[in-house]
Symmetry: C3
Subunit: 217 residues, 3 copies
């Protein structure tokens, strides 16, 4: 653990807890849509929730993983999946997903800022640190989609998601570079990413794709 104040450490943990839940639910719904069995539901929810952070920790060579040092989260996940399998009906999927967009945006902001800050604490270059934030925020979803045999939505839906994490990461990097404290820059970066995501959701803005419109077909 490379966080340097107990307060920051606590804040990081709270932040990861929040986003984790929203991500787990996204995995759970995808697993349900694919008609996976109970094992599949738990595993895909777990991948969506912890995949991004775990990959970041493997790349940064950090141990223990969040789901090792806070293993109670695995129990929360098990209970969540069981409850969802018993109580959540197909007709609730759409509203659940729409309702989850807002905590998910929060999670996106918080995860990307956490990832970037952990990388900066290892004195990694800015672009690498920002990328670690993007990986933390998006790779849970990417792994979830790969296991469910889909092209990851983060890579093809032309909706800004990773891009918000990217922008928030740079804001955090700049804030820290210009002497802002750890907590302040974390909050600023997380807020930027989350706000951009919310703005994208509200305006329906889409990313440019391959430019070759005319000769594409």
């Amino acid at each position: 653990m490379s966080s340097n104040t107990p307060l920051l450490s606590l804040a990081l943990t709270a932040v990861e807890a929040c986003g984790t839940l929203a991500f787990a639910l996204s995995g759970l719904l995808e697993a349900a849509r694919k008609r996976l069995d109970a094992v599949g539901v738990c595993l895909v929810a777990g991948l969506a929730a912890f995949g991004g952070g775990t990959l970041r920790d493997v790349l940064l060579d950090r141990r223990p993983f969040v789901w090792v040092s806070h293993s109670e989260w695995l129990w929360v996940l098990l209970v969540l999946c069981t409850a969802a399998m018993v109580f959540l009906r197909t007709r609730h999927f759409e509203p659940t997903e729409r309702a989850m967009q807002w905590p998910d945006a929060l999670g996106l902001g918080l995860f990307s800022a956490t990832g970037t800050q952990l990388a900066l604490a290892q004195d990694l270059p800015g672009i690498v640190a920002v990328l670690m934030g993007v990986i933390t925020a998006t790779f849970g979803g990417v792994l979830r989609d790969i296991v469910c045999n889909e092209i990851p939505t983060a890579l093809r839906d032309h909706r800004p998601y990773a891009v918000c994490a990217f922008a928030g990461g740079w804001v955090l990097w700049a804030a820290q570079h210009w002497g802002l404290g750890h907590e302040a820059s974390l909050l600023l970066g997380a807020f930027t990413a989350a706000a951009l995501r919310v703005a994208a959701l509200l305006t329906g803005y889409t990313l440019p794709g391959w430019s070759s419109g005319a000769d594409r077909s």
Copy 2:
């Protein structure tokens, strides 16, 4: 290496060898069904055989991997794949697969127990250790199916597989917790997982899926 008696170390090695062969054959058959070329056959067989253990070792930060310290296993795999490509006919796939169910159940038991015990030796919490056992036993198959562009059967076929590893892991954990020796709890955990798997095969028991039967369609 965290095993603490030569006997246990030997037992663990023998155990991994057994399961490895059954897993490699499952990868080999899947690769053949997908008409992969010689490289694909070897690689998918290798992933199925060593993928779970390697992922566990990356997560637990253990080196060397089993296929590094026992690199003769890579030669065995190469010879196995070559022999299978020359001698195994399509009409033999079904019987081969049915015949492999029993060593595979043994491998499931042994791998999950090994994985759980290695994690417990690092003083990880019970749920994490059990999960490491499940990963060791199932992720070879999961990676095999991902590479072959399928939703992993372990997550969707409603047949108890990972669940047996999960149960066996808890039995091992309880046994060790209550003072049983390393060898005894390893054997007990492995036996539980394997026996549950055999029982599931014999009775055709299936896991519950998403409960929303009526509004699913």
Copy 3:
């Protein structure tokens, strides 16, 4: 870092730069064909370029990754992807891909030799070192195809690719074993792999697949 002369270190870096560019372009074209958005294009190009080397480094427990110690490469990648999205038209895909075959063959040779040599520097057995070379050279493409929801071409197109890396790795191993210097054996291994690949491209040689031609259908 385990390279032992500044010259070798420089050569290894130059080598990785070359191959990286060809691999990135292959990812870029695949992403474009799949109509991914801007994020997907950058991420798949990045996976194709750095995936093999990163997986090798995770397996060998080497840090920092090439894209961390030479993070300017991430900028090159971003610029490349942006330029390609603006300027590259669909009708240029085929010629681009054909033109890339030659630098790609060079990259194959160089990457596999680099990977093998880094593994040999850790005193790993020959077969493991050769396999690390194969992983370095091919897993970028494998990860690219997995993310794009395809069975990896390296495993199914019956064209020798990984096999060339395998052969080149053994030549390097033998050369080093018989007392050739680091630079000489690196060049010899890389040349062998690249030459085999070029020969395969020129002759259209294909790998044997599953032998059971008659009862396959």
